[in-house]
C-alpha cells in the first residue's frame, strides 16, 4: 500500500511516497523498517506507542492503535504534528 512520508523522514526514503505491506499498522511499520532501516524507531517508541508529535492517518482517519487492521488498498499518511520555535 501507499505510505505518504513527511519531510522529516525523507532522509530515510528519499521520496515523499513509499510502498509497504502488512495486515496491520504494526506490520506496515515493520515492513518500512526492513526497507528503510531505522525509520520505525523515529516514529514508534520501544513500547509500541506512536510518538507524541507524530500522527498517522489511514484513509483520512486518525489512528493511534498499531494493531489496526488494514486493507491492501488503504492509504497511510504519516504527519509531523508540532508547533513552536
Amino acid at each position: 500500500m501507499k505510505v505518504l512520508i513527511p519531510g522529516a523522514l525523507r532522509s530515510y526514503t528519499e521520496t515523499s511516497e513509499a510502498e509497504a505491506s502488512g495486515a496491520t499498522l504494526a506490520a506496515v511499520f515493520a515492513d518500512l523498517d526492513r526497507r528503510y532501516e531505522g525509520i520505525r524507531f523515529r516514529v514508534v517508541d520501544e513500547q509500541d506507542r506512536i510518538r507524541p508529535h507524530i500522527r498517522i492517518f489511514v484513509n483520512g482517519r486518525q489512528v493511534r492503535d498499531l494493531w489496526q487492521p488494514l486493507g491492501a488498498s488503504d492509504e497511510i499518511v504519516i504527519v509531523q504534528a508540532l508547533s513552536g520555535g
Partner: protein
C-alpha cells in the same frame, strides 16, 4: 536521517586573539551540540584560529557530541527532532559521513504488562575504559543508563538501575525533573578500573558501582538538599555535573543544586567547597570542569540561583571562577567577557577543557556563543556567535 549520509558543510574562519604561549603538538577540535544542530571547530596549532565545519543535522536537537579518545576517530552524536524519536549518529571521518545506530538506546518492555518507559532523548555519551575499546555508556531522559560494546552501533539497557524498583522510585517521574525532562548524566569511568563507575541523576543523586554496574550504591553523605526535605533520600538530591580528576581519580568535584562539592576517596563524605565562593555570587551553577593534570584546579560557571532561579549570570555579568587549591578559595576570571547586560548562562555539559598546556577552556552559552580561553581562563575571547542555544561543548586532540 538515512544511513550513510554525506554531509555538506559550511566553512568560515573564526579568529581569537590572546598572548602567545607554547604550541600544542596536536590540534584541538571543539565539538558544539545545540538545540538545532551540531558544529565542529578545528583549531590551528596555536588555538588562535578556528575553522568552522557545520551545521551537522540542522534542525536536530543534539544533546551531546563526543569523539572517542581511544581511537581518535569514532564520533557519536545524540540527536532527535521535535517530531522524531531519539537516535545516535556515528561518524569515523570527523563528520564527513554519518551512520545511524542500528539499535539506539531504548528501555526494555516491562514483563508484567505495566506501561513501559520510552527514551525521549539520549543526553550524555561517554567512551568506556581504555582497556575496553568499543565500549560506550549513555545516559538518557527519562533517566536510564545504557551500554554499547560496538562503538555505539547497538545499545543495551543497564537493568540494574533502569528496572530496579528502588532506582525507579528515586528517579521519580518526568514531572520531577528538569524542564525538558530528568536526565542521567556524568557517567564516570575510573581510569584505573573499568568496573568502577559513577553516575548522577538530575533528580536522584550520585551513585557508584564497583562491580561493572551489577550493583550500585548512593553517594549522598555530606550533600545538602533543599530545606525541609530528607537528606537521606536520593530523590531529593540534584547533582548538576560531576567530574573525576584524571590526575587523581580518587578526587571528584560536583556542582549541584545546593552548591559545589569535593569528594576524596575512600571517604564517602562530600565537602562543600563552594562555601568559599563570594557570597554575592554564590555557588549555584551547572557545569563543573577539572584540570587534566592538576586535581587541585577546577572551574565553575556560577548562575543566579536565587528567588525564582532566573538561570542567568548573576547580575547579568558572566564570569568563570577557578580554584587552584582544591576549593579552599576561588578567583574570578572574567577578562574579555561582557561586563554588563549579558543574561545568558551555561548548561551542565556546555563547558569543558582541552588537554593542552596551558589548558584551554571552552563554554557555550544559552544565547549561542562559544567562548574560549587559551590560558586557563585568564583571558576570554568569543570564538563563535549566533548559534542556536548550546547544549554541550566537548574537545578532543586530533592529529
Amino acid at each position: 536521517m538515512a544511513r550513510n549520509t554525506k554531509k555538506s558543510t559550511a566553512r568560515k574562519k573564526v579568529s581569537i586573539t590572546g598572548a602567545p604561549r607554547s604550541r600544542p603538538t596536536r590540534r584541538v577540535l571543539v565539538m558544539v551540540a545545540t538545540r538545532k544542530g551540531a558544529w565542529l571547530y578545528h583549531g590551528d596549532a596555536a588555538r588562535k584560529a578556528w575553522r568552522c565545519n557545520g551545521p551537522h543535522f540542522l534542525g536536530h536537537i543534539v544533546n551531546h557530541l563526543v569523539l572517542d579518545p581511544r581511537d581518535g576517530q569514532t564520533l557519536l552524536a545524540a540527536a532527535k527532532t521535535g517530531h522524531l524519536g531519539p537516535t545516535v549518529f556515528r561518524s569515523t571521518d570527523l563528520g564527513r559521513t554519518w551512520n545511524e545506530a542500528a539499535r539506539p538506546p531504548a528501555f526494555r518492555k516491562p514483563a508484567d504488562g505495566e506501561a513501559g518507559r520510552a527514551v525521549d532523548h539520549t543526553f550524555w555519551l561517554v567512551p568506556g575504559h581504555a582497556s575496553e575499546p568499543g565500549v560506550w555508556y549513555a545516559g538518557t531522559s527519562p533517566q536510564g543508563l545504557f551500554r554499547s560494546e560496538d562503538s555505539g552501533s547497538t545499545w543495551e539497557p543497564f537493568s540494574s538501575i533502569n528496572d530496579d524498583l528502588q532506582y525507579r522510585k528515586w528517579m521519580g517521574t518526568v514531572q520531577d525533573g528538569t524542564p525538558d525532562g530528568p536526565k542521567l548524566h556524568s557517567i564516570l569511568v575510573d581510569p584505573r578500573d573499568p568496573a568502577h563507575l559513577y553516575f548522577g541523576m538530575s533528580g536522584g543523586g550520585v551513585h557508584e558501582s564497583i562491580d561493572a554496574g551489577r550493583s550500585w550504591t548512593p553517594l549522598l553523605k555530606g550533600l545538602e538538599v533543599v530545606e525541609g526535605f530528607d537528606q537521606a533520600d536520593a530523590t531529593f538530591h540534584d547533582p548538576h555535573c560531576i567530574r573525576l580528576c584524571p590526575s587523581n581519580p580518587d578526587r571528584l568535584y560536583q556542582q549541584n543544586h545546593c552548591g559545589i562539592y569535593r569528594l576524596d576517596r575512600p571517604s564517602n563524605e562530600w565537602a562543600r567547597v563552594g562555601s568559599a565562593m563570594p557570597k554575592r555570587v554564590g555557588d549555584i551553577g551547572f557545569p563543573m570542569v577539572v584540570h587534566p593534570r592538576d586535581a587541585d584546579t577546577a572551574w565553575v560557571f556560577p548562575m543566579d540561583g536565587t528567588t525564582v532561579w532566573p538561570r542567568t549570570s548573576p547580575e547579568g555579568i558572566p564570569a568563570v571562577y577557578a580554584t587552584r587549591n582544591g576549593g579552599k578559595s576561588w578567583g574570578r576570571l572574567d577578562a574579555g567577557l561582557p561586563s554588563e547586560q549579558a543574561w545568558w548562562t551555561v548548561k551542565r555539559q556546555a563547558m569543558t577543557a582541552d588537554a593542552s598546556d596551558p589548558v584551554g577552556l571552552y563554554f557555550g552559552t544559552t544565547s549561542g556563543e562559544v567562548w574560549a580561553s587559551r590560558d586557563e581562563g585568564r583571558k576570554w575571547t568569543c570564538m563563535a556567535r549566533h548559534l542556536p542555544e548550546i547544549y554541550a561543548v566537548e574537545t578532543a586532540q586530533v592529529a
